[in-house]
């Protein structure tokens, strides 16, 4: 028998049956439920008089709509409050654990799943949110689903799915000083394109992946959807197990030993053949930033805005032109000369403790440029508490950043934190689509260290140069 991939092993162990049309029924172990995508799913259940098959397989938390400041003053009867209240009611009615926004476990679904040990290797996990691919960092098959699918999972614990092909992204080399995994993934997407992973689950592997912390692996998998892939994965290893051991919902005692033994069999077999393979050497990378309205429109910080006139493909040329018009940028401009108005450090991509540490290291002893409004929004209450224990909040506050409560915040224009029309933002989030951070807002994606550097400089800047400018 030829070898199997990590994806193939988990798929096989969750396959309930195959249908004649080539699709399959897949068993789902875990479901994270949030406020925006779940109301209609619960309404559907209620209408049919159906129950939730395994309430304990779900955890509910509100993250997209929650305010990240003045939580006590949330507008009663406002959309956010109604959505949060509805989630809480539905959770209570169907017997699902609900994490209140005041809880010390509260946070963005994709940050708290791993923190709680709800996310486990070898599991299938879904959520009505496309960045559910984040959890694949633990060696799980994890993907975003739509409203009807949420309802299907709630009532049957299964989904009709088509098995995907598997593409391996092999990362070689050591990451240079001042760079982070965000630079890697932006460079990967710039190379393979936003549809580069369509129809494939991506497995990230190679020495550069093994060297990454769990936080960094989550950032890597999180952005898989921006490469067109619903599933991103990293094989579980000692680092994965060390992260999970002792977490609230992780197995304990004998069950832990049993699980661990199984998890060690999960990595792709040595003789396996992937449907597609791409290789990168990360040792040559420089910091990346996006300049357009698609994550693939990214370039090294030393570059200039490309000229659509030089693009031979007509469709691409139009798309580029449209991006530049929306972004208010002219071809030939040096990326480092682009001034910014706002800085957002946070989101399920870069709202974890390591991200805040990296940003704080750049900021320490410096001040945010007077023309810039900057906020830090921890991905979860746990991250916030940890950062405060390390006094990182002081570093940010002293530099002139706002220090917020956990939530999706300015990653998505669905709460109080938004860009105003025409404002330009250095953002650690994952999507630079038109209007994503607020109508008319202009987003430049980058790493936490690069966003921090931009906050200080008031324009996009190579963080490595700032680190060299020795300060106290």
């Amino acid at each position: 028998m030829t070898g199997r991939t990590l994806y193939g092993k988990i798929w096989d162990s969750h396959l309930v049956k195959n249908y004649e049309d080539g699709s399959s029924l897949l068993y789902i172990d875990r479901h994270l439920v949030q406020e925006v995508s779940s109301p209609q799913a619960f309404a559907g259940l209620a209408l049919q008089g159906r129950a939730v098959r395994r309430p304990q397989a779900n955890v509910a938390v509100a993250d997209h709509a929650v305010p990240t400041r003045n939580r006590a003053n949330i507008e009663v009867g406002g959309l956010a409050q109604l959505q949060i209240a509805r989630l809480e009611e539905n959770a209570a009615r169907f017997g699902i654990d609900y994490i209140p926004i005041e809880s010390r476990h509260h946070g963005i679904v994709h940050v708290i799943g791993p923190e709680l040990g709800f996310t486990l290797p070898g599991a299938t996990l879904v959520c009505g949110d496309s960045h559910t691919c984040t959890h694949g960092a633990f060696g799980a098959i994890s993907f975003g689903i739509g409203a009807s699918e949420c309802e299907a999972v709630l009532s049957t614990q299964c989904l009709r799915q088509t098995r995907q092909k598997v593409m391996r992204v092999w990362l070689d080399g050591a990451l240079p000083f001042g760079l982070s995994v965000k630079d890697i993934i932006l460079a990967v997407i710039a190379r393979i394109g936003t549809s580069g992973g369509v129809g494939h689950a991506i497995e990230y592997a190679g020495p550069a992946v093994q060297a990454l912390s769990m936080e960094a692996r989550m950032t890597l998998c999180n952005m898989s959807i921006e490469a067109g892939s619903r599933v991103g994965m990293v094989a579980p290893d000692e680092r994965t197990f060390a992260y999970l051991e002792g977490r609230a919902m992780a197995p304990k005692g004998k069950l832990w030993d049993q699980a661990l033994e199984y998890w060690q069999t999960l990595p792709s077999d040595a003789d396996v053949v992937f449907d597609r393979e791409v290789r990168f050497d990360v040792s040559e990378l420089t910091p990346f930033v996006s300049w357009g309205t698609s994550p693939e429109e990214s370039a090294p910080i030393g570059a200039r805005i490309p000229d659509p006139a030089a693009e031979s493909d007509g469709v691409k040329r139009l798309r580029m032109q449209r991006s530049l018009d929306y972004m208010g940028l002219t071809p030939g401009t040096r990326l480092e000369d682009i001034g910014i108005d706002r800085v957002f450090i946070g989101s399920c991509t870069n709202g974890r403790i390591e991200d805040l540490r990296a940003a704080a290291a750049v900021i320490a002893g410096r001040r945010v440029a007077s023309s810039v409004e900057a906020i830090v929004v921890p991905g979860s209450a746990q991250v916030r508490l940890q950062a405060e224990a390390e006094r990182l909040d002081r570093v940010f506050l002293d530099a002139g950043f706002e220090w917020r409560e956990a939530g999706c915040s300015m990653c998505v224009g669905m709460n109080d934190d938004r860009l105003r029309p025409g404002e330009r933002c250095a953002s650690t989030s994952n999507r630079n689509f038109e209007g994503r951070q607020g109508i008319g807002g202009r987003t430049h994606l980058m790493s936490p260290a690069m966003a921090a550097a931009a906050a200080i400089a008031g324009h996009l800047v190579d963080v490595r140069r700032m680190a060299g400018e020795g300060h106290a």
Binding site: K17, L25, Q56, Y98, A248, M414
Partner: protein, 212 residues
């Protein structure tokens, strides 16, 4: 889901092509919590003028078509974003059958998930149906026999995937189908899975330790 066997109604003619789901229901209504009530936002921009006043010239606000249960739409109806709200809004308005020369792919699939029958007809047959719709006469869509009966002339046959036809006839949504057809398989799988990977089942005592 209610069963769909035979539907008799007048049909609203709206033959404009490439109506995308943003036209069917604009994005700002996606934040609403319920499926019920979405019908009032169906084709919102078409049914309101710039000042947001009701513009009763739109076919669905124009008696007798305001009570139509059938929509005769144009080519590539429901293209664009995958939002399921487009079908929910139609169904909530009372439209459970859409007849068109072609459909957006995801919209077409979403119809069956929500008890709405989309019918694709060739140009010649489509034109016959459209004429009847424009005349404000009743027609009958019979899913049992897979025919559309017009006041005059021979019945018009239409094709529908057998699996989906059965779901509509029995009033089973996709979930209902899974529960009836696959329930035993799910049960059996779950029992085995619980033995093979007990750590994935949080229903054990361990859960008590977690105070959320």
């Amino acid at each position: 889901m209610t069963e769909f066997t035979r539907l008799t109604s007048i049909a609203a003619p709206f033959p404009e092509s490439d109506i995308d789901t943003d036209v069917v229901i604009p994005a700002r209504f996606l934040l609403l919590l319920d499926k019920a009530g979405l019908g009032q936002h169906l084709f919102h921009e078409r049914r309101h003028d710039r000042q947001r006043q009701r513009n009763t010239s739109f076919v669905l606000d124009h008696p007798p078509f305001d009570t139509a249960k059938i929509l005769v739409a144009g080519r590539n109806f429901g293209c664009g974003s995958s939002r399921e709200q487009a079908v929910w809004a139609l169904a909530d308005f009372g439209i459970t059958c859409v007849i068109a020369p072609s459909f957006g792919e995801i919209f077409f699939a979403n119809c069956f998930k929500n008890g709405v029958l989309p019918i694709i007809l060739d140009a010649e047959l489509y034109d016959r149906v459209l004429l009847v719709a424009e005349a404000g006469a009743e027609m009958t869509v019979d899913l049992q026999t897979q025919e559309i009966l017009l006041p005059k002339g021979t019945p018009i046959p239409f094709a529908v995937d057998p699996h989906r036809r059965r779901a509509l006839l029995l009033g089973l949504d996709e979930i209902g189908m899974m529960l009836t057809d696959d329930g035993a398989d799910i049960e059996a799988f779950e029992a085995n899975h619980r033995v093979a990977a007990p750590w994935l089942f949080l229903d054990c005592d361990r859960r008590e330790e977690v105070k959320l």
